[in-house]
């Protein structure tokens, strides 16, 4: 008997496997999730949601009388054979249903059972024998009576969310596995491509360049000297935002603790644990504010950087003009403009999704030493650069990317170094440019 092989094996250029068994395994996994979702959903619906819905829609309202009260005792034995008792308050109600007098115990409505018998007894103190009580009974089982109606929204939410997520995840996975049944990955990709092609519209500039990222966002801001002003991706902006959010959230926690401590003090109590916690929390909060203000000062003191370019998207072998404008009243020890090619790969590591970046090519376009600010005027420079004739084009797929960018690296006099990144899109060379390509090492053709 030949056993099925569930996973394909690759041997050099050949790969063998059983797509049918692979799809079956995947389908079985998702079917299990779907079944589990339906089962748990069914349990929660019949055990929680439906009874609650019946109380609110089917139970009959009646005026009853409290004729007895007591404790319902429950005895349980744990794994070690130790017996534990818990108590729950119970009231005996008398009411008229269908022309006859009915007496029924009601135990729910006081929360969880307690192991403290005296506490359960105290909960009964509020009830007075003979008092009138509005209650609702089940017409189908008259001895079932409740004192409260309404919906537990969190319970409904839980009923919908938990099994709902399992059902949605399982059903979509099962549908996907069914659609992949016996189909090769090439066939699936081709069919998905045919389905999506009417929905995906690319701009005229990107037409004919699959996997080259769109550059419409890089071309919607006109420049003053050159044709387009490039948007910036400043790592400092993200760290400023991160520092701001951290300072805000941390200090919100500190304020909540401080208010609680203040109420304690006002009430004549001193919770030393709370005060002990408040002191280091407060110090960290102050440090977070200080860090945020420092970054804010750095971002505002250095001033904005504007970079304009003569054309976009770029082509290998093309020569382009750029205009740099650096504002602010800071003097620089060094300022340099660099053209970089960066690879980016996203992968799973355990349950984490990680992204690794690596600069694989870098060319210094220009650098300036000892720059002193001129009051009221930004530092400006215009220069030209050439894209290498055999440069890789910009590329982006779901988990991988190859991107070009201009990077301004600055070292101010009394501030830490900073980076301003300006992404570029390079499309593949056209037939003319391809014909002009000379087979040389990449570095030698860069001007």
């Amino acid at each position: 008997m030949r056993l099925p092989i569930f996973f394909s094996k690759k041997r050099g250029e050949r790969r063998t496997g059983s797509p049918a068994w692979g799809s079956f395994g995947e389908g079985f996994f998702y079917a299990s999730l779907l079944t589990a979702g339906l089962f748990v959903g069914g349990l929660m619906l019949t055990g929680v949601a439906v009874p609650e819905w019946r109380i609110n829609n089917h139970f009959t309202e009646v005026e009853g009388r409290l004729v007895g009260k007591g404790l319902a005792r429950r005895t349980t034995t744990d794994l070690f054979g130790i017996r534990r008792q818990s108590w729950r308050p119970a009231v005996l109600l008398e009411f008229h249903a269908d022309g006859e007098s009915v007496r029924a115990w009601h135990t729910s409505g006081w929360g969880e059972a307690t192991t403290d018998r005296s506490l359960a007894l105290r909960q009964l103190d509020g009830w007075r024998l003979g008092q009138s009580i509005r209650c609702w009974y089940d017409p189908e089982r008259i001895e079932t009576v409740v004192l409260k109606r309404g919906y537990s929204w969190w319970l409904w939410l839980l009923t919908l969310l938990l099994p709902g997520a399992l059902v949605v995840f399982g059903a979509t996975g099962l549908a996907q596995a069914a659609s992949a049944w016996g189909r090769s990955e090439e066939r699936q990709a081709a069919e998905i491509g045919q389905l999506l092609s009417p929905l995906v519209r690319s701009s005229p500039d990107e037409e004919g360049f699959p996997t080259v990222p769109a550059c419409a966002d890089l071309m919607n801001s006109p420049g003053t000297i050159q044709r387009f002003r490039l948007p910036t991706e400043s790592p400092e902006a993200w760290s400023l935002l991160g520092a701001g959010l951290f300072a805000l959230l941390w200090n919100a926690v500190v304020i909540v603790l401080a208010v609680a401590a203040g109420f304690d003090l006002a009430g004549g109590r001193t919770d030393w644990w709370l005060f002990g916690l408040l002191a280091p929390f407060g110090l960290i909060g102050l440090a977070a504010i200080g860090l945020f203000l420092r970054r804010l000062l750095l971002a505002t003191a250095i001033g904005p950087t504007h970079l304009e370019i003569s054309d976009h998207p770029l082509r290998p072998g093309g020569t382009y003009g750029v205009h740099l404008s650096q504002g602010g009243a800071v003097s620089f020890r060094r300022l340099e403009l660099v053209l970089e090619l960066e690879e980016q790969a996203t992968f799973r590591q355990g349950t984490d999704v990680r992204t690794e970046k690596q600069v694989v090519w870098r060319e210094l376009m220009c650098c300036w030493d000892r720059l002193e600010p001129v009051p009221g005027r930004p530092f400006e420079a215009t220069l030209q650069f050439k894209v290498p004739a055999r440069a890789m084009h910009s590329f982006r797929s779901l988990h991988n990317a190859v991107g070009w960018r201009l990077v301004l690296r600055g070292i101010p006099d009394r501030w830490p170094a900073f980076l301003r990144v300006f992404p570029l899109v390079i499309v593949p060379a056209g037939p003319d440019a391809a014909a002009a390509v000379v087979r040389q090492p990449l570095r030698e053709v860069v001007s």
């Binding site: 030949r2 056993l3 092989i5 094996k9 041997r11 250029e13 050949r14 790969r15 063998t16 496997g17 059983s18 049918a20 068994w21 016996g182 090769s184 090439e186 066939r187 990709a189 081709a190 491509g193 045919q194 004919g208 360049f209 699959p210 996997t211 340099e336 660099v338 690879e343 980016q344 790969a345 996203t346 992968f347 799973r348 690794e356 690596q358 600069v359 694989v360 090519w361 870098r362 210094l364 055999r390 440069a391 890789m392 084009h393 590329f395 797929s397 779901l398 988990h399 991988n400 990317a401 190859v402 690296r409 499309v427 593949p428 060379a429 391809a434 390509v437 087979r439 090492p441 990449l442």
Partner: protein
Amino acid sequence: MTERAAAGEASATATLPRVTVSFASDQAEYAPGDMLETSYRVAAIDPATITTVERSVVWYTEGKGEEDFGVVFFDRLLAGSSDAMSDEPTASAAVDWPSGSFSIRLPSSPLSYEGLIVKIRWCIRVRLFFSSGRDFVSEHVFFLGDIPVARPLRHAVS
């Protein structure tokens, strides 16, 4: 193909399938927009055991990231039928079951790229489906474009 798989598929011939692909270009190097004319030959297997042949031209990524891939040409040929489910108007099929040939015009991108953590490869895949439900895929790499191999940076810009 593993021995276990082969035992069931090739019981008639007791041999493994062998797929050879020949490119018009000796180096299997093409420029964007070129016509890719190729023929493939399936040997060492009883043609009667093959139910379907899928020919495709795909690009895929290799390296540190998860694999992405795209199909620019896909063609499915069924045994005993001259009809091919082709999704590519520039494709042509000359069938000599289960061997054959096809030609397509290659797209402008993505170009073959040998980066440090991202690599892009192009290949022709010939996938054979057998009457038992198993399949066998043969992959033949070619190069699109002429992008130089990326090398680690020696030093940072000072």
